[in-house]
């Protein structure tokens, strides 16, 4: 690596386009492809054959002490009869140490939820392609797709030693989910075609879901980062109460059903809460309450709402390595508060974090590389699978201006905008050349990819064709400055772009595209907005073009928001999304037959087996790319959560981890198998 200290300073201070251009050169000099920054997808191997499971178990020294002192039962009694058995990536690890990370405050709970994600009912394999066991050892779908059965592990326990059984699922379903004071709106995930499903206890370790219509999609939902399949950590924090199961033996004392309304309200008052509901929201939140039992590898010992969020090993964690050592290897995880992302990146360069992929800025890659030796860490780039890490979502239900609406809903207009984008320039400037330019379709390695020919469809740089198309649809007239004019009043046609700074400096990227669009006579006004405000505008159907990525859409049915308008708030057309999600009760029915076709394919898919679902998703992607409802630029890059810094002291680290929402990055590379070599 060349010495980059001056450039490094620039990168630290500001990410101006000029500075970025310098960085691009530096990155090219480093030759990313040959540098070993992008490795193969790897992870520990799950051993599911009981014959290969260890017969005796060992535990961490800190737990052995507690056993000796009589405060904890022996390790063999704490581990389930059917544990999750991992063969670590490289070798059996050593116990001890504190994993140091950065977090940005109490709203950054996902930072810890994701590494706690082995509390999900089911998870995904290291490459993100297959559903694998997790809390549950397996599942089965009936032939008609109307019943889904989850099998739990015999002898599994909560972090306080109480048994974890089917009762914890039924408790959640009846007492939490079934109480409108806690959950005012049921999740659509439990209501295929609007018909509510039921949960039934079969025996101690078996739970059954019953639906009135075929619902094969439910297998993906129970493994996804969804309301039902997300796990306790994320779905029962921040006043949310989903997650399919809950620690009933602990939470019952806070519910009026098990004592009386007066009793729980009196207790709430005494503990400083407004009422029992507020108390319950606190008590079930693992980020805040150090007493709530959990299933994941860690439990909170110092809550998230202070300067340090501290986790400690769960003495009853249900996973072991092939040598019989109870996981995790790390004793503790410590998140240190950083008030700004600049601080996170500076501290990361100083080697103050042992592993950190969150809040690390791709734009700082050259400086991060430059400091590798000094900070004793290695940089990995984990490429994502989503088609676009920066794209224009074109609002199809926009009604604020009839002339603008006419063009936003015109397919050739959208295609021309797409052909007017020089994606290579964007890629070189803002992705340091590591992204893949093209349409928003998911990466070709994903099953739902419509095929490689859809990467370039309407997604190359062809300003001549774009100009011809714009002339052809009736926008041939231009003003003195060469911009096309409105057909209603002859004034300049101005498109408004809402850009929020997230993942990448989106406002700057949008400015570059606006500049490129000048060549096709299109004036785009980029409005940089504060995050919350931008989202409020989008939800209220006030945006024309909204800039974001399409993260998660590589699993279309689990995370459809940034691809199809089926969940309220979709930038594609908030009003159409309202129509679809309320079954036509609210919102507006789209007139565009292609959107209706998407709705049909999407609705049908929930009742189809995996093959049929995949087929429908591919068909939807073909329509999306052909119609350019979302205009993709550059994707499959490490822009979000994909720049990973790992201390050289850590072992069992994957060369590349699955960087995707369903993988709960870095959750599905199972941090409980990482360890300190020295």
């Amino acid at each position: 690596m060349p010495n980059l200290s001056r450039r490094g300073l620039l990168a630290t201070l500001a990410a101006s386009p000029a500075a970025m251009a310098l960085l691009t050169e530096a990155a090219r000099a480093a030759d990313l492809s040959a540098s070993g920054l992008v490795g193969e997808l790897q992870g520990p191997t799950m051993i599911t054959d009981p014959a290969k499971w260890p017969k005796t178990f060992q535990e961490a020294p800190m737990l052995a002490e507690r056993v000796k002192a009589g405060k904890l039962p022996p390790v063999a009694e704490r581990i389930p009869a059917e544990p999750m058995v991992w063969q670590p990536l490289n070798e059996t690890g050593k116990y001890g140490g504190t994993w140091r990370r950065a977090f940005t405050g109490p709203a950054d709970g996902e930072n810890g939820n994701r590494i706690q994600s082995s509390d999900k009912p089911l998870h995904w394999s290291a490459d993100g392609s297959k559903i694998v066991p997790c809390v549950a050892k397996g599942y089965a779908l009936s032939d008609d797709g109307k019943t889904y059965t989850l099998s739990l592990r015999k002898g599994m326990k909560w972090s306080d030693g109480s048994p974890f059984t089917a009762d914890d699922f039924i408790f959640w379903f009846e007492d939490i989910y079934g109480n409108p004071e806690i959950v005012p709106t049921p999740t659509p995930e439990m209501r295929p075609r609007g018909k509510p499903g039921r949960m039934v206890k079969v025996d101690e370790t078996t739970v059954r879901w019953e639906f009135d219509v075929p619902y094969f999609l439910f297998e993906d939902i129970m493994a996804g980062d969804t309301a039902m399949g997300g796990g306790q950590a994320v779905r029962q924090a921040a006043k949310i109460s989903f997650g399919a199961y809950a620690p009933g033996h602990y939470l019952k004392q806070f519910l009026p059903k098990y004592s009386s309304l007066e009793a729980v309200n009196a207790r709430a008052k005494q503990e400083g809460f407004e009422n029992w509901v507020q108390m319950l929201h606190f008590k079930k939140d693992w980020e805040l309450n150090t007493e709530v039992p959990v299933l994941g590898p860690w439990r909170t010992v110092r809550p998230i709402n202070t300067a340090i969020w501290l986790l400690e090993r769960n003495p009853y964690y249900y996973a072991v390595d092939t040598a019989g050592n109870q996981l995790p290897y790390f004793d503790k995880v410590q998140f240190t508060l950083a008030e700004s992302l600049e601080i996170v990146n500076l501290r990361a360069m100083a080697g103050e974090y042992d592993e950190q992929e969150r809040h690390i800025d791709l734009g700082k890659l050259p400086v991060l590389l430059d400091n590798q030796e000094k900070g004793n860490y290695k940089v990995h780039l984990d490429l994502g699978f989503a088609g676009s890490d920066f794209m224009f979502h074109v609002n199809q239900s926009f009604t604020g201006d009839a002339e603008i609406r006419k063009w936003l809903t015109n397919a050739d207009f959208r295609r021309a905008l797409s052909l007017g984008i020089d994606r290579d320039q964007l890629n070189e400037t803002f992705w340091l050349g590591v992204g893949t330019p093209g349409s928003p379709a998911p990466g070709e390695s994903m099953p739902q990819s419509p095929g490689p020919e859809w990467r370039k469809k309407w997604s190359t740089f062809d300003p001549a064709l774009a100009n011809k198309m714009l002339d052809g649809i009736g926008l041939a007239k231009k003003d003195g400055d060469g911009f096309r004019v409105r057909t209603d009043n002859g004034e300049r046609l101005r498109l408004q772009v809402i850009a929020i700074a997230a993942f990448l400096p989106y406002p700057k990227l949008s400015e570059m595209v606006a500049d490129q669009w000048r060549k096709i006579g299109i004036q785009a006004d980029v409005k940089e907005m504060e995050r919350g405000l931008g989202f409020a505008k989008q939800t209220n159907n006030e945006h024309q073009l909204f800039v974001w990525n399409n993260g998660g859409t590589e699993l279309l049915y689990l995370f459809p928001t940034w691809a199809v308008p089926v969940i309220p708030g979709a930038a594609f057309g908030p009003d159409y999304a309202r129509w679809y999600s309320t079954g036509g009760a609210q919102g507006t029915k789209p007139e565009d037959p292609n959107i209706l076709k998407i709705f049909d394919l999407y609705a049908e898919a929930a009742g189809l087996k995996a093959e049929g679902r995949t087929h429908n998703a591919q068909e939807i992607w073909k329509i999306l790319v052909d119609q350019q409802y979302g205009i993709g630029t550059v994707g499959q890059s490490p822009a979000g959560l994909g720049v990973r810094l790992v201390s050289n002291r850590l072992g069992n680290i994957a060369a590349r981890v699955c960087n995707a929402q369903h993988c709960r990055t870095p959750g599905n590379s199972h941090p409980e198998t990482w360890y300190f070599k020295a």
């Binding site: 959950v183 501290l310 360069m349 995050r531």
Partner: protein, 330 residues
């Protein structure tokens, strides 16, 4: 005198009530609520919140209620000293602020002491030795201090600290002391982290105050009473310190009204850049995340401190400047 103070106190109470109304209205002006802001933050970290989950959050935070009801609830809580729980932190607002308050005050007071300790002597020197080499040097540094945005200065110092001295950047404690209980070692660690933020905080203020002090004193030095004092043979030191400096101090006393709120939330940007665990970043963040109870409490606190500080500076001015005192008595 007493009636004057009482009247001012009465006005202060009415002003504070008005502040609660304005605070509440302004905080609710943006078309964004806490849940939208939270969902946006989660989206910006590659995860998502479903509409059903957002509904549950709105119910739990009472955001579905009409604004007037929310205001009345808040006011009746505040009236009995209960500021509620922060949405984001899930802890009582007083605790969240309390955690950071004394470090904030320590840092700000330190910065004020440094500012005044540097600005007063330098200002006097510059005025008395006008157009000397020293005056030019201080003037140059002063203008540079005014012109360079201090967040940039903070970034540069952090980067140099990291590259050259290999020091931990940002924060007020080294990582090994973050969790440690209070000890002399921890105090020493804090003492090691304080000077840099204090200096950065002080720099811009110092430059400004030097200029004010210099200008005021220059005005005074040309007054006939100074010439008279000199003519009567008073020592140079006594001539300057006894009267002109005292007169030139007036602007300092009148800024006390703003100093009080400053000690609590001064220089938000620098605190964010340096990752200081102070109230400033908390205020900024609570406004961005629409954490209503936390944001309104801090703004209310700043309002009360401003009102109280203004009262204090009025009284102080009366004390140091007989002209004002006499004017009031007439």
């Amino acid at each position: 005198m007493l009636t004057y103070v009482l009247r001012r106190l009465g006005l202060a109470v009415i002003t504070v009530f008005a502040i609660t109304v304005v605070t509440f209205v302004i905080l609710h002006l943006p078309p964004v609520d806490f849940v939208t802001a939270y969902a946006a933050q989660v989206a910006a970290s590659g995860s998502s919140i479903s509409p059903a989950e957002a509904d549950a959050m709105r119910l739990a935070y009472g955001l579905n209620e009409p604004l007037l009801v929310q205001y009345w609830k808040w006011l009746s809580m505040v009236a009995v000293g209960d500021f509620g729980r922060s949405f984001e932190y899930g802890r009582p607002v007083t605790e969240v602020i309390g955690d950071r308050l004394w470090l904030t005050i320590l840092l700000s007071l330190g910065a004020i002491v440094v500012t005044w300790g540097l600005a007063l002597p330098i200002g006097i020197y510059s005025a008395v030795r006008q157009y000397s080499i020293g005056d030019y040097i201080f003037t140059f540094i002063g203008f540079a201090g005014l012109a360079v945005p201090n967040f940039l200065f903070a970034l540069i110092i952090m980067y140099v600290g990291l590259r050259v001295f290999n020091t931990s950047v940002g924060g007020l404690f080294s990582s090994e002391f973050q969790l440690a209980p209070w000890s002399w070692a921890k105090v020493w660690d804090l003492a090691g982290h304080l000077p840099i933020p204090m200096l950065i905080l002080a720099l811009a203020g110092t430059a400004q105050l030097v200029r004010i002090m210099r200008a005021n004193l220059l005005d005074e030095l040309r007054r006939p009473y100074v010439v008279t004092a000199r003519a009567r043979g008073l020592s140079e030191r006594r001539v300057i310190m006894k009267y002109p400096v005292r007169a030139a101090l007036n602007p300092f006393a009148s800024t006390i009204g703003y100093l009080l709120p400053y000690t609590v939330s001064g220089s938000i940007i620098i605190s964010v850049v340096l990752s200081l665990p102070t109230v400033g970043p908390l205020l900024l963040h609570s406004l961005i995340s629409q954490d209503m109870l936390l944001g309104s409490t801090i703004i209310l606190m700043l309002g009360v401190l401003t009102v109280f500080g203004t009262l204090l500076s009025d009284l102080l001015l009366m004390w140091i400047d007989p002209r004002i005192r006499l004017g009031q008595l007439k």
